[in-house]
Each structure stands twice: as C-alpha cells, then as structure tokens.
Symmetry: C2
Subunit: 455 residues, 2 copies
C-alpha cells in the first residue's frame, strides 16, 4: 500500500508520520516542491528579528532524518496535476524538467498556501512577502546588505504586527498600513484598539483605513529598480523595505478542474481530513477546517490546525479516527510588550451570523493589585442573550497575560454559560490572579448585564 | 431587618456588602475581635519578605470607609456566644470587659481560623505562627530588631514555602521541616518532587519525613527565653526564628454546644452558605465548602473561597441565589522561581476514594522550543479509567507556567474527558505554547495509556 503526500511542511509530514505509525507496511512518498522541509513557519518573524539566532532551530526534522525514518522524500518535485480516476499524481522534477506519474493508494494533499501578492510589484527590489523559509532568508539578506533603516508593512494582521516587532528589534523604523479600521481583524475593533493605542504611544505609525495606491521606485545602476516610497489614498511613506502581509491563499491551482470540492481554492474536508474524492485527504493551509462554534467550515491557515489535521488524516487512513469536534478559532498574537488572544466568535462574527448576542469588555489585573508587577488584563466575553452561553472570548494585555484565554477554551467547547463562569473555581494566590479571577469578573459583569436586560 | 456579621476580614465583609447591596433598608452590624479589617491575608508572606513594601497595600477597605458605607463596624468586639433560639449574639467589648447581647434577624458567621500552635512554645521568643496581620507585624519587627540570619520553618505547605521565599528575600537562611514525605501535600508527591528538587538544587535545607521533637532555648537577661535550636527525630537545626506553619483550625470555639452542625470545628453549610440553623449563615475559614469533584464537603480555608461564600451568603439572604456548583479545590503556590498549581483531585485523593483512575505526568515546554526563554512545564492529569473523564490536574514549572491550570478548570467542571482534550483547540503562537499545547500533549499520553490498557 502506498501513501503519496504532496507537501513536506506541517500538514504533510504530520500526516505522513501519523499514517506510517498506524498502518503496517505502508510505503510513503512525500513530494516537496522546495528544498526546505518540516520547518516552523510561525517562527519566521522571530528568525528575521533575531530573537531566534539560528535558522536550524526552526527545523523540526532535517530531510536526512525523514529519509532515515523510512520516508521516500523527494525534494524539488512539484505536483502539477492529479488524476483521481487513475489514482496518480503527476509531478515535475524541477531540476530536470522531467514529468512523472506517481500512482497512489492513499493521497494526502498538504501543499499549503501562497502569499497574496500585488500584481506589478514582484520585480521590485525591496518588496517582499513572508511565506516560506526562503522568503525569510531573502528578507534577512536584504536588510543586512542594504542596512535598511525605514520600512513599511502593508497589512496589520498577525504576520504584519509580528514583523513590526521583528523590524523594531533590528532598529528599523516601520509603519503599518491597514486598509480596515483596525489592525488584527480576527479580533473585535475594541480589543485591537488596546494594542493600537499601545503601538501609537510607543511612537509607531499605525495608519488605519488607508488603502495602498502604489509603490514608487528609484532606479539605480544600469537596470536596478528599488522601492523608495509607499503611496496610499491618504499619505506617502518613505520605505527602503516593504513587507506585503496581505494574507495567504491555498496553493491548489494544480487541482482546478479535477472535481475536488474547493471554496475559493481551499479544499473541503470532513473532521478526519477526507475530501469528496475517495482515498484523498487534505490538511493544512490548502484546506478548510470545521469551526464547531460557528458551525461552518472556515479557512484558518494556522500551524496548529495543519498539525492536527495532518495527524487526524493519518489516523483516519489507518481506520483509527480520534475524537475531534473541529476547531474553535483560537489564536494568540504578540507585538512587543502587548499580547492578544481569542477563542470562539467575536462580536463581529456573531453579528454576521445574525445571532442574538451580548458582550462585555472589562479591564482587570493579572495578579493581586498589591503584588509587584501587576498588569492590565482586558477580558471580553461574547454570549447568547437567550441563555448566557459563551460563544467567544478575547483578551488583551501586557506580556504574560494572553495565555489566560486557555481558561475559556474548554468553557466554549463544553457550552458553558456566563453563569457557570461567574463563580467558577479558578483558584487564587497573589502572584497569579486576584481573589476574583479576571474570568469571574468578566462573567459577573455579563450576568449583571443579562439580568438588567431581563428585568 | 438587621444582619449581624461576626468577623470583618474576607468572608464577613463580602457577605455584609453583598447583603447590603441586595436587601433594601438592611441594618448591618459587623463585630470584629481585632482592629484590622478587610486585609488580604494571602499577601502576608510578601509583606514580610518585602515584595510588598507597605502594609496599607494589603487593606482593601479601611475601617472608616466601611463605616462611611453605612456598616455599623464594631472593632474589639469578640463574639463569645450565640443564642440561636433568642436570635442573639453575645459579644464582649475587649477594652472594657463589658458583655452585651446583640439581637439579629440574619446572622453571618465569618470568624475565620486560628493557626495551629504547639503547646508549650507560646511563651518562647522567636517562635511565631502567621495567621493575622498582627502576626506579620510581630515577625517583621522581630527580624529587624534581632537581625535574624537563620530560621526554621516547621511545615512545608503553601504558607511554609511562601515563608521560605520571604525569608530568602530578606537574606535569611531557612530550612523547612516537613513531617510528611513531601512538601505541598495538597499535590501528589511526584509533582511536589519537582519543586523539592529545585529547592535542594538552590541549596535550601528541605527535611522530609522529620517530626518536630522540641524547641531548645537560650535564656538571656533576667527572665528572657529565646529559641536557639529546633530538634527533630532526625536532626538538630540552629534557629533564631521559628515559623510554625502547621495549618489552621476553624475559630468556632464559641459555638460549641449550640447545636450548629460542625465537623472538626468547621461549620457545615449548603451551597448558599446556610447552616442547619434558620437565618444563620457561615462562610470562609470557619466553615466547610462543597467540592463537587470529590462530591463531599471539605475544609478548604482559602481566600477565594471566603470571598465567594461570603458573597453567595449575602445573595441567598436577599433571595437571589446564584448558579454555584461548589469548588474544585483549585490553587496555586509560588516559591522563588518555581510554581505549582492544581484543580480537582490528586491521585492521592482518588485512591482514598477508591476510584478506578489512571494518571499521566509529562514534561513539556511552555512555548515553542525554538523561542527564547522556553521553560519546562510539567502537566499531570488524573482521569477515570472507565471513560477517560478528567477528575484532576496538576502543573509545576518555572515562573509564568502554573497559570495554565486554568485551561483545565472548566474541563473538570464540564466533565470533559482526555479524549476531548487531546485535540482541543488551545491556539498556538511561538511565544505562548507549542503547536501541540502542553494540555494536548498530556491528554494524548493519557489516551494512549488508556488504549494500551484496553487492548
């Protein structure tokens, strides 16, 4: 029996190992377009910023280890098509141009995603996206070589603000241009406003509601063209370096017209990673994932989701499905001394779904107010008005606070209400929280609000 | 209508305010034996150690503020008896010796607890317990006056190790004498062993399984007698200061023979703080509290429990009961660079109850191994073998790790299983956790263990 896996980063390799561990005598061929495998893509901003000092630290498993584990890893093999009828992947060997057919009994698609680019900017020196380890290397070299002092980041999402921190750590002044009215748009605006205020107070240029108009360039030498300025509908910003952090799109172009179900290019899968095509699985940034809070498939290209769906696909192939209900859109982001975290639905999402919900946002402290080093911790809870059921939570605060969102993750999973949380025993000691934990405080405010509305 | 409250620290004042806010035209009389009110007793070790620089920071509300809020606060009034038939408290005014009867319509007993002492040691200079703010003051004065360099702490529970840190912060070398085989006995020994190893590596004397035999004294001046040495069944330790951290007992001597239900002096209450006597409530360190995981009333004298039961009592008096299921024995402790946290049952507790349980203890990291500053985080899960239901969790690790127990608090509350937790979406970003969160890792090991046992 042969499993072919397309893609050797998080989803692909998780799936390959999971299947291999659980199915006897399985032949595993992994095709990888590039030469980098099994790297922690989420660590790239920290590699660029220098917090991580060696590229090798991002590599979970080197190619030689994967091969030693018995996986037939084929680098620089790009999948260019699949015949689901014949059960055969067509791959091009990039170094020779040779094209070959590789039959499979099981197929896992883990091709990941490509960064969204802006047409016409690709040839310009100093303009980068950050999607692969190679992108990181290019950015690092460029910064070192050009001694960059001024940058603009287009897009204020997770990757945008992480790059702000990275560039700041390198002594590079960076502005963020964000089209929407707030940065970090997976959060509600009132939560992201806390980080925006922090960044503005620290002197960063955070330009909200501004749309990129064009990049201006200098020419140099014979044919060189390098970026010099970013022009938006509202302003102009000098920049020797421009990072386009506009999100990613599934790398599934080679599957168009094959009959595999996709939404905006993201492959539809069930909770075990199965696609609509027999024996074909998909996982990671090329696929959708089920969000059980919203009750819909979503495109959530996150490292943890890739690893989970990869592993679950392998288990499913082995006939050993795990108990998995889907994800709940949990996430964290850190930018310098500020952190945000979330799980479940935001107000924005609940509104879009037409739910009858309420929400509270409270400012608390992360430890007893009398204990040294106590910090602000903002907690937002979103709940159904009908019964107080918690459907979402967001936190913002200084270093070390955002991890507390974990206390609300199983609460949402288990359909608990703000009434359950008001007196829940989160424990207490002065270095850790207050006598009334921040979650109790937020839940108590929600209970009061519900009671006033019902009276 | 008159509410009489006995005790003006956490439980008593929480109850007084809660009742006053929710019942119109309520007269509230609060009797307090001492002169200190509304202080954060959990902060006392940090006051002694100097982390908290001013005593006033521990005071949530000064007596004058309480009086300004309309509460008839009577300091140095000691309750010496209650006539539940007549509905009258007998109080002695300590400054005059006068005894008076104070009738009540509602009564809340919040007298707290007294430190366990060792008979015969009370007159000896240099021997202290730590139960009240006055105790703290005495310890602080003694240390300053005598320039203490060497101390012994008898008892390695929460307060014992917190005092170890406090004394260490003051440059005082302290040993701990613990009768049991491990310190921090509300945890399992394999978890506390992590902190024991840390403390031993740091050069502290942690003497386990040693029983106090006697205190030796020096005489000085005319009649002075001061402690000089602690003698156990296994060793002798020089000490200018001895802290007896042997736990507390409910301060309910004045209720003996009144017909109120008590177990070992702790008043039995329901989930709303009601005792077996009509219109009489009890809360805090003088009372039991229901632990819904164990399914029994327990004596858990903790600040958060006092505040909760105080508030719940007041709401109950007002006919506005809240949704409260009881506590789940959650707690944290910090000692220097180490932390431990727990919720639900330990293996030790599960064994005592005769449950068919399993447990796993894993060592994980608190953030991506490649992210700077990553620390060990030990996670222990205790679960029922029958269905994998989580009944307890413990964590140990370096600074900043123990708060993660919060992610397991609602899991236990909601009867979730290790199968639910294996793939639960705790989110991921390198500064916060790993692609597989520590809780996922522990749950996954539990699932594997269960599957091996059942195969």
């Amino acid at each position: 029996m042969r499993l072919v896996v397309i893609g050797a980063v998080a989803a692909g390799l998780s799936g390959a190992y999971s299947a291999m561990k659980n199915i006897e005598d399985l032949e595993v061929i992994v095709l990888e377009k590039g030469t980098d495998v099994s790297y922690g893509a989420c660590g790239m901003p920290y590699l660029i910023g220098g917090a991580i000092d060696e590229e090798s630290k991002l590599i979970a498993k080197a190619a030689r280890e994967i091969i030693a584990d018995g996986i037939d890893l084929r680098l620089r093999h790009e999948a260019v098509g699949v015949d689901f009828g014949l059960r055969e992947v067509t791959a091009r060997i990039l170094d020779t141009g040779e094209v070959l057919g590789i039959p499979y009994d099981l197929l896992l698609i883990g091709t990941g995603a490509n960064a969204v680019k802006i047409p016409g900017t690709e040839g310009i020196e100093g303009v980068f996206t950050l999607n692969t380890l190679d992108d990181s290397r290019r950015i690092i070299s460029f910064i070192e070589e050009k001694k960059v002092k001024k940058a603009v980041i287009v897009g204020g999402g997770y990757k945008g603000v992480e790059m702000l921190e990275a560039l700041h750590d390198l002594g590079i002044k960076a502005d963020i241009i964000e089209m929407e009215k707030s940065i970090l748009n997976t959060f509600d605006p009132d939560v992201s406003a806390i980080t925006e205020k922090y960044l503005l107070d620290e002197g960063f240029g955070i330009h909200l509601g501004e749309k990129l108009d064009r990049l201006e360039t200098d020419t140099y030498g014979e044919t060189g063209e390098r970026v010099s300025r970013v022009v938006t509908d509202k302003g102009e910003y000098d920049a020797e370096l421009v990072i386009l952090a506009l999100g990613v799109r599934p790398a599934t172009g080679f599957l168009e017209g094959t009959g595999i179900n996709m939404t905006k290019g993201a492959i539809a899968t069930d909770l075990e990673g199965r696609t609509n095509i027999p024996v074909v699985y998909a996982a990671g940034d090329c696929a959708m994932i089920f969000d059980f809070v919203a009750g819909i498939d979503r495109y959530l290209p996150l490292g943890t989701n890739s690893n989970k769906m990869g592993k679950l696909s392998g288990l499913s192939m082995a006939g050993k499905p795990a108990r998995f209900r889907g994800v709940q859109s949990s996430g964290y982001v850190k930018v310098l001394g500020m952190e945000q975290s979330q799980t479940g639905m935001t107000d924005t999402a609940a509104k879009k779904m037409g739910l009858d919900f309420g929400s509270v946002l409270v400012r608390t402290r992360d430890r007893s107010s009398y204990y040294p080093g106590s910090r602000n911790l903002y907690v937002k809870l979103t709940y159904l008005k009908k019964d107080g059921r918690l459907i979402g939570a967001q936190m913002a605060g200084e270093t070390g606070t955002a991890i507390r969102i974990q206390g609300l993750v199983p609460a949402i999973y288990a359909n608990l209400t703000v009434y359950d949380l008001e007196y829940m025993d989160f424990g207490y000691a002065p270095p850790f929280n207050s006598v009334w934990d921040s979650i109790n405080v937020a839940a108590s405010k929600a209970v009061k609000t519900l009671s006033l509305e019902n009276s």
